[in-house]
């Protein structure tokens, strides 16, 4: 009687049949039930069966996935993206890149320490630029390895133009003072920053003619060249213009004179068609006399009719900070 009573009591308490176990106890029993020989509610055989089932299930699924993926990849042309420019997500306006990129990611500050005990920290920038420019140097890895024949497209008026089988050479000589020999100016407090347009497959710039240059660009050139006419500052022909400026008035104040070399990018370097050994055309911007001790926000822009500059999306625009300690 007593035992039945106990049982009933439990039933009443737990609201279910069977003696109520503690939650923990029943959980432990769920984990391993010695009597039934079950682990997590299944016997070894059951586990085996279900495991085999799911191995097969996932095996087949994985195979199915793989087959479909391979099939899909078969539809892709390795030489050209399926969806290009506007059709693809990348769009019709290239972004811009700059070098050297600071080693610590998450920052775009180029901190030049030209003297003092930590002067050698600039070495990373020098190395970065050197590395980046390796393919550019004659006899560089790409040129040598692939046997690509570079043509000189630097002349805007020239006939040499990038094409499916034509790769343009970018000559380090054109970088002016920004070369490895003088450490790209980093040791002298006149750092050079490499600017380039992002590659977009099959993208070609629509350049401005000198006549219809945007006012903003004209103004910049005026400031830059002491009111010299723009034609005296840049080569003739289809050019992408590059400008660099302090972002804010304060930055403009501290940025000092800059030197672009080469001053523009010729349209002939485009389009990018995944040519072997393709070299992105670059422009070196050298800060000749930035005010030391100030972080200068620099914003460089590329100018062409089909470059839609957007500071938010960073299209046709690049931003970095410069700090020169002297």
């Amino acid at each position: 009687m007593a035992t039945t009573g106990a049982h009933e009591t439990d039933v009443m308490m737990s609201g279910s049949k069977g003696p109520a176990k503690g939650k923990w106890a029943s959980f432990m029993e769920f984990l391993y039930n010695k009597k039934e020989g079950t682990v997590l509610g299944r016997t070894g055989k059951s586990w085996l069966q279900i495991t085999v089932f799911y191995i097969i299930f996932y095996g087949v699924l994985a195979a199915f996935f793989a087959v479909l993926l391979v099939l899909f990849l078969q539809t892709l042309d390795p030489n050209q993206p399926k969806w290009q420019r506007d059709q693809g997500i990348i769009g019709d306006t290239p972004g811009m890149g700059f070098r050297p990129t600071p080693k610590d990611s998450g920052s775009t500050l180029i901190w030049v320490k030209s003297s003092g005990p930590s002067a050698n920290t600039s070495q990373q920038y020098i190395d970065s630029l050197t590395d980046y420019l390796k393919p550019y140097s004659p006899g560089g890895a790409t040129e040598a390895g692939k046997g690509v024949t570079y043509v000189d497209c630097s002349s805007p008026t020239g006939n040499n133009k990038a094409g499916p089988n034509t790769v343009c050479a970018v000559r380090p000589e054109s970088f002016g003072a920004c070369n490895q020999k003088n450490n790209f100016g980093y040791t002298t407090g006149q750092p050079c920053v490499l600017l380039k347009l992002n590659r977009i497959f099959n993208w070609e710039p629509k350049t401005y003619s000198t006549a219809d240059l945007p006012q903003e660009l004209n103004d910049w050139y005026k400031r830059q060249g002491n009111n010299r006419p723009i034609t005296q500052q840049v080569p003739q022909g289809d050019q992408i213009f590059i400008t660099c400026e302090g972002e804010d008035p304060v930055d403009k104040e501290h940025i000092g004179p800059i030197q672009l070399s080469p001053p523009t990018i010729s349209k002939n370097y485009f389009p990018y068609l995944k040519q072997d050994g393709y070299l992105s055309p670059v422009v070196m911007v050298q800060f000749l006399n930035p005010d030391p001790g100030f972080i200068i926000n620099v914003e460089c822009r590329a100018w062409a009719q089909n470059i839609r500059q957007s500071r938010i999306d960073r299209l046709g625009v690049v931003h970095f900070e410069l700090l020169v300690d002297r």
Binding site: A2, V11, M12, M13, G15, G88, M96, N198
Partner: protein
């Protein structure tokens, strides 16, 4: 009584009995007076004589001190029993059985007769004793006792012989003790002899009166001894009322001689919330004494209720000393806790029943009424006698207590007890004896009824006592063990202590049965630590108390006195302030442990009805006090009523006469409740974390990305929207009920200022004179002051289906008292005038309504499932989120990053929309069910109904039409069966013979029922009639057959009639007939067939008038038996044309003198009536059967009727046989039939009462066709619980107020919309608008369907969790760009998935779900296989498909899969402006993010597309989709709808940016399709294999 009583008593009787013989008080007075003489029993003496009452049974392991103490208290008396047994070789068992076995049938089953003979014997003993043992002063004592017995018997004549038995049972023992007490004095040499005699008497009595309690040999004969310490007696002149300065308590000081506790309601200080009465006695013979504030008092706390019980047998001289009664205030006994344990204690009930009467009576007796002292002379008598006797007794006591012999006796009893209960050795003998003593005394004090069994007897025999009593009984039987445990387990408080003490047998008994579960039960009852401590201390204190004789002469014999004194005071203190702060001055000053003060927590009332509650219900004296007093008290003139002003004043003071609606939860709390339910907390935490993350970012950098803030707000919105939706949904369903409740505005006709006006029932005030008319609803609890044929239908309150007449007579039990009518019951017919005595919540109905709210309703299955599910998912989500957070931090990510990651995972894991979906689905189903007349009150009940495996159904009204109908006629030696359903065909198969015509004629004429005036347009069966049920049935029948009853009656006017009454059992009327112009008289008679038959001389058959001979007699008997065996109500009909010569045309018949013949009639025939089953019911029951649902009929009707109906509707099937049927068929004795062979069983309510729960379980297990007949509504609760014990999900139908506990207790309560009482509707989950059983069946079908569909929905909805989780996981593991961010995840859950999942509600059943057994209660809604199917199978395939789309988009835009792997860090670095893809294109950050949004768009679209096929697949759980078809247009539309939503989200420019999506090419919708098809195919195969190999491994693992 008179023949036994001494002369003085007789005087008393004559004095007192002038009130009239119907009332018992005078008997009581006799008793009191008799009791004054016996002072022979000093309590301490008993302490000393009794051994250590260690129990040999019970809780070996119960370490709770308190319980031990209580047990000891409870057990205490056993040793005195042992004592008796020891000396006299008389086993204690018989008594124990009498007292303790509630189910003991001995008393009930007809041994009373023998007992009463023993009674005589006993009385003779008493007389002898009287002669031998007592001096002159005490000479009349026995008579007093005898008188009491008689009194008891007379007072409870209704209750039958049990009561007498009780008296006997109690008597001998007391006598026995008296003798014991006198024994050592040596002044009475004969008393040894007397004692022996007494014991012999006991011995002789026991085998007959009660069976031995073999199980518990030491259980003492409980309440054998009726000694009361609370003296109740005639009024006393010397009463003083002292107001205690400190506490404001009123102390009633009563002088020595007083035997009455002169406490009345009026005396209670108005501020008193509850009154507990402590009886303080001082002086010699007191059990315990205590010095408190200079007054030597003994203090014992009793409850007001028990102060003066009607048949309180007064202890003869036990306390012949001044008594104080402290009327404490505000110390309301904590009922919930205490009572929970002893709710079911029938003894309490017994006491209650007795108590009902007592107050008034007492007041009247004591002269505390306005009338002033009435019985001074009586008092004087008593006083005189008492004074004379007292000293003698004191001497006796002191001697007695020191008697070493008794001590020895006691010791001899001890070891045996001890051996079985060793842990009690801890306590010294004194403790035990004291405890036992106390228990003994208290027991005697509080127990007027001998035993539970007796009580049962009483209750059974007094049908109108049914209500309160049976309910209690029901509770008791329900869970005797639990109660026992709670008592034993020490989870009670002081209150309980007193009670357990007062019911030692209960404590003993139950502790004994199952002692070690007290703790558990205490948990069950939510008893807190405080109470436990308190109780243990009380127990302690109590027990010290007991053995601390404070009286000097006692002190001598007990060296421990001094040391115990302090303890005792502590004890009394703690008991005094048990429940709250205010400490009575008498008990103040002693320590309440500080911790207890700290934790004075309130305990929730958890379990069912409590005894105290019932007691309060029953405690009513308004029906007993003289009418004039009552009216005076209520200050109303019955002729003019209240003045309007006075009424207005009272209304303003007391408020509306209405039941307080259940406390409304403030709306904002309801909303808050939604905010913390379901998955909301998880999302809230997520939102908070996002805010924190944003805050950190904000403090970190000046212009942080707003992503986190955005997400935080979105999550918060999700929570708010979800909660708001659920809140509104619930508010809506509540509104339905609100409207339902207010459908019937009530009005009442009251007499105000001399005029009868009709007012709203709410405005009725106390003392209003109300006019009652047939058809009215009683506006409050009223006392009838005038009645003309007034009948009320108490069915909703008591379950009695027959209307009961009401008059001005009163009887003790308010529920059976004829002069009370109760709130919300209906006056059926007649007229009456009544005065309002209780209104609103104070009414009996109000009480029950309130009590019902305390019953915890069983959690609905779906609620439980959802809770399981939510918890499961939450744990899963939190574990996953937590793990990834830890891993992320461990491998060096920033905390912020890890948090965001974890939030992503949590959000991915939580099916945010599922709660809403489920709610909407349930709502949809509820709406559908409402159309089928099932009004769903509680949404979740929808599903529970589907799960139900047992239906406990009412008969009347639910299974039957609740309309008596003629079903058979016996005429011309043939039984004709009538069509009971369609009114056009009723009686059409009767042959057109003269006999039939005669029968119809008699039935037409001898019938007082009439159609109500405005009813003539309606179909006959729907017309309302005035008249009782059978006459109405006959009226309708004859109306159908003859077509014009009224006209026929008009032609044959009644000139004299005697209506049916229960003594005659027939109705007769004389009509004029116009026989060919010759006016003659025809006497027609109908009534109980045997009565009619007796009065007949001839039988009309086939037109012949045959003389009644033996052959006819046999024919009649056979026909009667046959009709009777169909459970039908049979009426006989006879006629007699009065000879014209003797009764010429104008003759005046005088009904009173009966100047017409009533013998020698011509018998015409029999008509039997039945309440026929509803047309749709047999079909419904059959459906239930095929659906594997057991239908149990629970009815208050006669078993035969019940069985007949059960057979008719199929509850007992064609082949179903009961034991009796088998016996009849095979011709063997019923006893020889193996009960297991019988499929069907009809259980009588009385048998049920005697069944243990095990037996009941057995019945439920072994019989599939069960009918419970003659049950009280309360027994439903037992049945329900038994069914639930067996694991069934139980649906209960009910309409009465008393059904409401069962309705609440059931998994699903179904109330009747038409006949149901409001209270039952409130307690129910479902209201059947048409009261039709068949509606339940459709409800069940819907419920089952919804369960299937919920499974499908959940499986569908949960699937999308996996394609939400995998992007985050792969993002983390494979370092690929994120495939799906949090916002689109929410969009899937709350946007696109919502409508399709809801559309599942319209999915039709796959198979005939009503042909399948109910789902196993253990079957989970969200089972392992379901999770496997949706997570491991569908989910992974979907993920694969979505990732395929992901790679397609990335690949065709330039990032090949090879490039994508490990790309994450560069991809997400906003400072990297030229990330090269597989084609050497350089992507800046914005471009990459645009690409990512595009990928997400594609991923999202892929999931949606996959869900198309998932939805189609989920339509079916077993079948093929091709078998099922696509006819669910809601679902088809949902597919289109979800696609449109997706398109909208993806392609609307700004919106898609906000949702983290981007437009995608059309072709990017497609990559997932192969996977969807693959899945579709797989699932078809899965289901094919399930169908192909039913029960096989595949089904086990893959069928959800």
């Amino acid at each position: 009584m008179s023949n036994m009583g001494g002369s003085s008593n007789e005087d008393l009787v004559s004095q007192e009995s002038s009130n009239g013989d119907s009332e018992p008080p005078e008997g009581r007075q006799v008793k009191f007076s008799g009791s004054t003489t016996d002072l022979s029993k000093p309590p301490l003496e008993r302490v000393l004589t009794s051994g250590v009452p260690l129990s040999s049974h019970g809780s070996g392991k119960d370490s709770d001190e308190e319980s031990i103490h209580r047990l000891r208290i409870a057990l205490g008396p056993s040793d005195s029993q042992t004592d008796i047994a020891d000396t006299n070789k008389l086993s204690a068992r018989p008594w124990a059985k009498t007292e303790t076995t509630k189910e003991g049938s001995a008393e009930r089953s007809g041994k009373d007769g023998t007992l009463s003979s023993h009674d005589n014997q006993r009385l003779q003993h008493m007389r002898r004793m009287e002669g031998q043992a007592f001096n002159q002063g005490t000479a009349h004592r026995p008579e007093g006792r005898v008188a009491r017995i008689d009194d008891l018997a007379s007072a409870k004549r209704n209750e039958g012989q049990d009561e007498v038995l009780q008296g006997q049972v109690r008597e001998p023992r007391r006598a026995d003790e008296n003798v014991q007490r006198t024994e050592p004095t040596e002044s009475r040499p004969d008393n040894q002899e007397t004692k022996r005699n007494d014991r012999q008497f006991l011995a002789t009595l026991s085998p007959n009166g009660a069976s031995f309690d073999e199980d518990y040999p030491h259980r003492r004969p409980l309440s054998v001894e009726p000694i009361r310490e609370v003296r109740t007696s005639v009024e006393m002149p010397s009463t003083e009322f002292i107001r205690d300065k400190n506490s404001g308590d009123t102390i009633v000081r009563i002088s020595k001689e007083q035997r009455v506790v002169p406490v009345r309601h009026d005396e209670i200080p108005p501020e008193a919330k509850h009154v507990d009465v402590r009886v303080l006695y001082e002086g010699i013979g007191s059990l315990r004494t205590k010095v408190d504030e200079g007054i030597v008092t003994d203090e014992r706390q009793l409850f007001y209720d028990s102060v003066a019980t009607k048949d309180t047998p007064v202890s003869p001289g036990l306390y012949a000393e001044p008594v104080h009664i402290l009327v404490g205030r505000g110390r309301k006994p904590k009922q919930g806790v205490t009572i929970a344990t002893q709710v079911e204690d029938e003894d309490l009930l017994a006491k209650t029943i007795c108590t009902q009467v007592s107050e008034t009576e007492l007041n009247r007796l004591t002269g505390m009424d306005e009338d002033g002292p009435l019985h001074a002379s009586t008092v004087k008598e008593i006083v005189k006698r008492r004074v004379a006797e007292t000293p003698v007794i004191v001497k006796e006591e002191s001697r007695r207590s020191s008697n070493p012999v008794t001590g020895k006796e006691m010791k001899t009893a001890e070891p045996e007890v001890d051996s079985k209960r060793p842990q009690f050795h801890l306590n010294n003998d004194d403790d035990g004896s004291a405890a036992s003593e106390r228990g003994d005394v208290v027991d005697k004090t509080l127990r007027p009824v001998g035993s539970c069994a007796q009580l049962h007897g009483i209750l059974r025999k007094a049908p109108s006592a049914k209500w309160g009593s049976q309910s209690t009984v029901a509770f008791d039987e329900m869970q005797p063990v639990s109660r026992a445990n709670s008592i034993a387990g020490g989870d009670s408080d002081n209150n309980l202590r007193a009670r357990s003490g007062s019911h030692p047998h209960v404590a003993f008994n139950e502790a004994h049965r199952n002692p070690s579960f007290g703790k558990k039960l205490s948990g069950m009852f939510h008893l807190g630590a405080k109470e436990d401590e308190a109780s243990s201390e009380h127990g302690d204190a109590g027990h010290h108390h007991h053995h601390r004789p404070h009286m000097p002469h006692f002190g001598k014999h007990n060296g421990k006195d001094a040391s115990h004194t302090s303890h005792s005071s502590t004890g009394s203190n703690s008991s005094g302030q048990r429940t709250d702060d205010s400490i009575s001055p008498l008990t103040t000053g002693k320590k309440v442990p500080w911790y207890r003060r700290l934790f004075t927590k309130k305990k929730p009332m958890t379990r069912s009805f409590t005894m105290d509650d019932l007691k309060q219900d029953l405690k009513m004296d308004d029906h007993l006090i003289p009418e004039a007093d009552l009216l005076a008290k209520l200050n109303v003139n019955p002729e003019t009523g209240l003045s309007p002003d006075e009424a207005a004043r009272r209304l303003a003071k007391d408020g509306k006469n209405a039941l307080t609606p259940p406390k409304k939860v403030p709306e904002f709390l309801k909303f808050l409740h939604e905010l913390v339910g379901g998955f909301s907390p998880l999302l809230e935490i997520g939102s908070a974390l996002c805010f924190i993350a944003y805050g950190l970012q904000f403090s970190d950098q000046s212009d942080p990305p707003g992503d986190n803030l955005y997400l935080a707000i979105v999550l918060l919105c999700v929570v708010l929207i979800t909660s708001g939706f659920l809140y509104l949904q619930k508010a809506k369903s509540e509104q339905i009920m609100e409207g339902f409740k207010n459908m019937l505005p009530q009005s009442a006709k009251v007499l105000r200022g001399g005029k009868v006006i009709q007012i709203s029932a709410e405005d009725v005030v106390m003392g209003d004179i109300v006019e009652l008319h047939g058809g009215d609803r009683i506006p409050a609890d009223v006392r009838i002051i005038e009645a003309k044929g007034l009948k009320v239908d108490n069915a909703s309150l008591t379950g009695e289906s027959e209307a009961q007449s009401r008059s001005t007579e009163s009887s003790e039990n308010p529920l059976e008292s004829k002069n009370l009518a109760f709130y919300t019951t209906n006056a059926v017919e007649g007229l009456g005038k009544a005065v309002v005595v209780r209104r609103g919540d104070a009414t009996v109905m109000g009480r029950i309504a309130k009590l019902t709210t305390r019953i915890d309703s069983t959690e609905t299955t779906i609620a439980r499932e959802m809770r399981h599910f939510v918890i499961l998912i939450c744990i899963f989500a939190l574990v996953m989120g937590g793990t990834i957070f830890i891993v992320a931090v461990a491998i060096g990510y920033g905390g912020l990053y890890a948090i965001i990651l974890a939030i992503g995972l949590v959000v991915a894991n939580v099916p945010e929309g599922i709660i809403i979906t489920v709610t909407v689905m349930l709502t949809l189903t509820a709406k559908r069910m409402a159309k089928k007349n099932c009004l769903i009150k509680n949404l979740e009940a929808v599903e529970t109904l589907g799960a139900c495996s047992v239906i406990c159904s009412d008969k009347t009204g639910t299974l039957t039409q609740n309309r008596m109908t003629v079903s058979h006629c016996w005429v011309d030696e043939e039984i004709f069966t009538m069509d009971t359903v369609t009114e056009t065909s009723a009686g059409k198969n009767l042959p057109d013979t003269p006999t039939v015509k005669d029968l119809i004629r008699v039935a037409t004429l001898c019938n007082r029922a009439k159609f109500k005036d405005d009813q003539m347009e309606k179909p006959i069966y729907q017309r309302e009639c005035a008249g009782d049920a059978s006459e109405t049935a006959l009226l309708k029948f004859t109306e159908i057959v003859t077509g014009d009853v009224a006209g026929y009656r008009q032609k044959n006017k009644a000139v004299a009639e005697i209506p049916f009454n229960s003594t005659n059992k027939y109705a007769v009327s004389i009509h004029e007939t116009d026989n060919e112009g010759q006016k003659r008289y025809l006497l027609v008679m109908k009534g109980a067939p045997e009565r009619i038959w007796d009065r007949c001389a001839t039988v009309i058959s086939h037109g012949q008038n045959a003389p009644k001979d033996a052959e006819w007699n046999q024919k009649f008997q056979d026909a009667y038996a046959e009709l009777g065996s169909m459970g039908e109500r049979v009426l006989g009909f006879a006629l007699l044309p009065l000879p014209a010569d003797k009764y010429p045309y104008p003759t005046q018949f005088d009904v009173d003198s009966k100047d017409f013949p009533s013998d020698g009639l011509h018998f015409v025939g029999l008509i039997s009536l039945i309440d026929p089953p509803r047309a749709a019911v047999p079909d419904g029951v059959a459906k239930c059967r095929s659906a594997g649902i057991q239908v149990i009929m629970v009815t208050g009707d006669h078993p035969l009727t019940a069985k007949a109906i059960a057979r008719n509707v199929g509850i007992i099937s064609e082949t179903g046989e009961t034991v009796e049927d088998i016996a009849k068929r095979t011709g063997v004795d019923v006893k020889d039939v193996n009960p297991r062979d019988a499929q069907a069983i009809v259980i009588h309510g009385t048998d049920l009462r005697e069944m243990s729960s095990d037996q009941l379980d057995d019945v439920l297990r072994h019989h599939s066709e069960i009918v419970f007949a003659r049950t009280s509504p309360q027994q439903k609760l037992i049945i329900v619980e038994a069914c639930q014990r067996s694991g069934a999900v139980v649906a209960v139908t009910g309409d009465g107020v008393n059904d409401s506990p069962a309705l609440k207790k059931a998994n699903i309560g179904i109330a009747m919309g038409i006949t149901g009482s409001d209270v039952s509707k409130q307690a129910a989950d479902i209201v059947l608008l048409d009261d039709n059983f068949a509606s339940i069946v459709t409800g069940i079908e819907e419920g089952r369907l919804i369960f299937d569909n919920l499974k499908k929905t959940i499986c569908y909805t949960m699937m999308s969790n996996i394609p939400e989780i995998t992007p985050v996981l792969l993002y983390f593991i494979l370092r690929i760009p994120l495939g799906l961010t949090t916002i689109p995840m929410l969009l899937i859950c709350l946007g696109t998935d919502m409508v399709p999942s809801i559309s599942m509600a319209h999915e039709t059943a796959e198979a005939d779900i009503m042909k399948m057994p109910p789902r196993h209660p253990d079957e989970r809604l969200v089972s392992g296989t379901l999770l496997q199917c949706c997570y491991l199978q569908a989910g992974t395939i979907c993920s694969a498909g979505a990732f395929f789309a992901y790679f397609v988009v990335l690949g065709s835009c330039g990032f090949w899969p090879s490039k994508v792997m490990g790309l994450r860090d560069l991809w997400e670095d906003p400072h990297i402006g030229d990330l090269q893809d597989s084609y050497g294109q350089e992507w800046n950050f914005a471009q990459r993010m645009l690409l990512q949004r595009t990928v997400q768009g594609a991923f999202f679209a892929a999931v949606v597309v996959f869900q198309w096929l998932d939805l189609i697949t989920r339509k079916v759980r077993r079948k093929s989709v091709f078998q099922k078809g696509m006819r669910n247009w809601f679902l088809n539309f949902a597919i289109v709808f979800e696609t449109l939503v997706t398109i909208f989200c993806i392609y609307v420019p700004v919106l898609n940016y906000a949702l983290n999506l981007n437009t995608i090419r059309f072709i990017w919708w497609l990559p997932v399709i192969p996977f969807a098809l693959y899945y579709f195919l797989f699932d078809e195969i899965r289901r094919y294999l399930i169908r192909r190999y039913p029960g096989g491994w595949w089904e086990r693992e893959h069928y959800f």
